[in-house]
Symmetry: C2
DNA sequence: TATTGTTATACTCTATAACTATA
DNA sequence: TATAGTTATAGAGTATAACAATA
């Protein structure tokens, strides 16, 4: 278990006198044993999530969208005419925290709040034309760069299996 | 796609006059369409991660350990004699942020910092007897409650496959 | 009285610069 | 000069209470 790329297994060793990579200038330490951490699902889950979000941000950087913002645009596109509470609840965002988020999107002209005529307390949310255009471009970037890279790493079938298991945990755990 | 438990498909409908669950007192709204959000791995990954961490906290609540604290104790147990920088780097914790975390563990007498005799700048970290005892109890709780519940939901083989894919992403993505 | 959007606020995480003591 | 631990600080993300407008 815990396969380990030990220093001794590195073929580049001994060829050059002092390899000096930026991260190992002085220490030359043996890598730590992950031990039972390797078996803890939550640990790998968290580390994987950070990697995925980092890559998402890189891939969609030209459009300046965070994963959370992208999820809001996607949801607004699929569910026109819903109010803030409905959108926020669906995404697991608390209503107070959704206000600043919407302010950001609205100030960039990606969506608009409109007072509902039925219930004047509610703000109906809609994508603007620009919002739809940005979303469309974002989807293409995500598919072509982000998800494609995942498929490359895991294979299409494994990626689908992974998604299904994660959705199951998110839904039923 | 996007299977949908629509209101019309709910067999409980029409039987009782006004079902009034706490979450749907007034709205009686159709559930939103998740749409392409269901296909976005990062989204399910994040939601799953939150669920897993919540459950971890519940399961190990008697010992008052967060996932991050548990990971530190595990790593200290497997790697005695390492310093703060080494432990923090391995866990992806920034050194400045690791200080307060260690303060917490040390004030609870779960680990100790000792000045290294070789390099008096370094703090060697070690579990205390109490730290080992708490870690041992925590491992039992995690195995018996947390991981067991995951196995129940996914099945042992699927759980292993999930772990491997997440580790792959964490390592190589 | 209850709900929607909002403000204020607080607490946790995370990230960076800079200090000190050692090397 | 560089490194280990530390401090200070700032920014996200998340959580709760309470208010005004409306129902």
């Amino acid at each position: 278990m815990t396969v380990s790329k030990t220093a001794a297994a590195d073929p580049a060793r001994g060829a050059r006198p002092a390899r000096k990579e930026p991260a190992e200038t002085a220490a030359e330490t043996t890598p730590l044993q992950m031990g039972e951490l390797s078996e803890l699902l939550g640990y790998s889950l968290k580390r994987a999530q950070l990697k995925i979000f980092e890559d998402f941000l890189r891939c969609v950087a030209p459009l300046q969208l965070t994963p959370a913002q992208f999820s809001v645009l996607l949801l607004l596109d699929q569910n026109p005419g819903r109010n803030q509470t409905e959108i926020a609840n669906t995404l697991g965002i608390l209503r107070p925290n959704f206000v600043a988020m919407l302010d950001g999107l609205e100030s960039r002209d990606l969506c608009v709040r409109m007072r509902s005529t039925n219930d004047r307390r509610s703000h109906i949310l809609m994508l603007t034309d620009k919002g739809r255009a940005v979303l469309s471009r974002a989807k293409k970037l995500v598919a072509a760069k982000h998800e494609a890279r995942l498929n490359e790493l895991l294979g299409s079938a494994n990626r689908a299996a992974l998604l299904e298991m994660l959705a199951t945990i998110a839904r039923e755990f």
